[in-house]
């Protein structure tokens, strides 16, 4: 590349370096703030945290957009018939700048992940807090007519009518605002407890792709091999194909294993909705076979 092209390239690289520096410092400051806020934010569903996180992600996106727009305006829209030593050298500039932008984008994605990772819900602790609050409410429950204690033997997450065993008055048992969150939290907690099973299922497509790539590479190598080596390669391909098929066939079973484990956990957390959960479980499994 001649001096003019080298100068443009250097300017673009320096520009991206400055943007990266700003993106890194902004991300590091935001991670610290968001991590603290997530644990201190007591609003419903951490609304304050989510609003700030959204603003941070928007700022990161604005940096990314600036890099994209600049590549387009300052590099890609340059006239390839300009005062360059050759068209080839001009295309080298474009290619180098695109490669550098690709590196920038990888950094941007890493920053996004760091921001997303500040959301660390502790559903187990929340669940224990709900149980403690429920215990306190149910132990204080007394008949509104005779004042006698009414024993609550099960977990209610909605207000429920309960008859006083002493005077037969119908009372309304209100389990408290924390217990009313149990159904929603229950699914999140069940998913968290069974995340390893979901990950095992979700890992299958990339494992299949890896085997497919191995088979493809071996097939490409076949035409350069003599008969003896080729026979060996064919055996390897056949072995890999069997692995591929087995893995592919195991996919529905792994999904069902995850779904059953997750719903079993959910039922343990909120048994009052077991019948409804079980119908939802069946729908998820049916959908998997329907859309497979």
């Amino acid at each position: 590349m001649n001096a003019a092209l080298t100068d443009i390239q250097n300017r673009f690289f320096a520009f991206l370096s400055k943007l990266e520096e700003r993106m890194n410092s902004f991300t590091n400051e935001s991670v610290a703030t968001l991590s603290t806020l997530y644990h201190e934010d007591e609003s419903d569903h951490h609304q304050g945290y989510h609003r700030l996180k959204s603003a941070v992600l928007t700022q990161l996106a604005s940096i990314q957009k600036k890099a994209d727009d600049t590549l387009q305006e300052k590099i890609n829209e340059l006239d390839d018939d300009g005062p360059w030593e050759s068209k080839a050298s001009f295309y080298t500039l474009r290619s180098n700048c695109s490669d550098r932008l690709q590196q920038f984008q990888e950094r941007y994605q890493a920053c996004q992940k760091m921001i997303e990772a500040t959301e660390q819900p502790d559903y187990e602790t929340e669940y224990q807090e709900i149980l403690s609050a429920y215990e306190a409410v149910k132990n204080q429950f007394r008949c509104s007519q005779c004042g006698g204690p009414i024993v609550i033997n099960q977990l209610y997450f909605t207000s429920t009518y309960i008859t006083c065993p002493a005077c037969q008055t119908q009372n309304t048992f209100n389990p408290g605002s924390r217990a009313k969150q149990l159904e929603g939290l229950g699914r999140s907690l069940a998913e968290q407890r069974t995340a390893h099973l979901r990950q095992a299922y979700e890992a299958i497509p990339s494992q299949l792709q890896k085997i497919y790539n191995q088979i493809h590479a071996l097939r490409l190598s076949l035409h350069q091999q003599n008969k003896t080596v080729a026979a060996d390669t064919e055996n390897q391909i056949a072995q890999l194909q069997r692995e591929y098929d087995q893995l592919n066939e195991s996919s529905p079973g792994l999904y069902e294993k995850y779904v059953h484990a997750m719903f079993d956990e959910w039922n343990k957390i909120n048994p009052a909705m077991q019948a409804e959960h079980d119908r939802f479980r069946q729908r998820m499994i049916d959908d998997m076979y329907k859309y497979k």
């Binding site: 400055k18 700003r22 700030l52 959204s54 940096i63 300052k74 309304t172 959960h277």
Partner: protein, 192 residues
Amino acid sequence: MSNPLLEPVHGVSLYDYAAITAKLSAGIDIIDLCKAMGIEPAVYEEASAIWVSRMQEDGTFEVTMKFGEYFGEAENHPKLKNLQVARSAEGEANLEKLATDRYFYEELSGARTAAYQYGLDGAQWILDNFGINLGDFQSVAMKWMEVQNAEMAKGNHESTMHFAHYQQQKAEEYGQKFAAAQGGNVADDVEF
């Protein structure tokens, strides 16, 4: 009723449930809503939990779609239509415009999206600046969604694309305003 998932729960129909949800999001108290419906809060709580679970178990999405349709008709619910939150004259006028002027609806939808992107409470921003509460906004949104679905069913994709583009354009304009109000974006001073 052919779909058993659409049967009322403890006397609370899907229309009742959707209308209560719409009125709740408009800011009306659940106790007042239950009184108007003639049901105890305990009945509503259990019906609410079961309607949510029915939407989850319904693979045809009929319950969810009907819920959306009924949500947009909350103002016609015979027992709840008279329960209204106080609206300013400006809010009333803007709500009327929102329901009749699709460009205005798309503009405010874009503005709300941009507000959330810049860390604001978008629903509160609409209430503060246009006097329209979340429940009213969502009811109107459901009606425009039906209009859009009808367009798509007729193959009129151009109209849908036109308004989607308009909303996106407005979101960008409001985004620039919100950014300016916050002192600009974080890398505005980095130049090529």
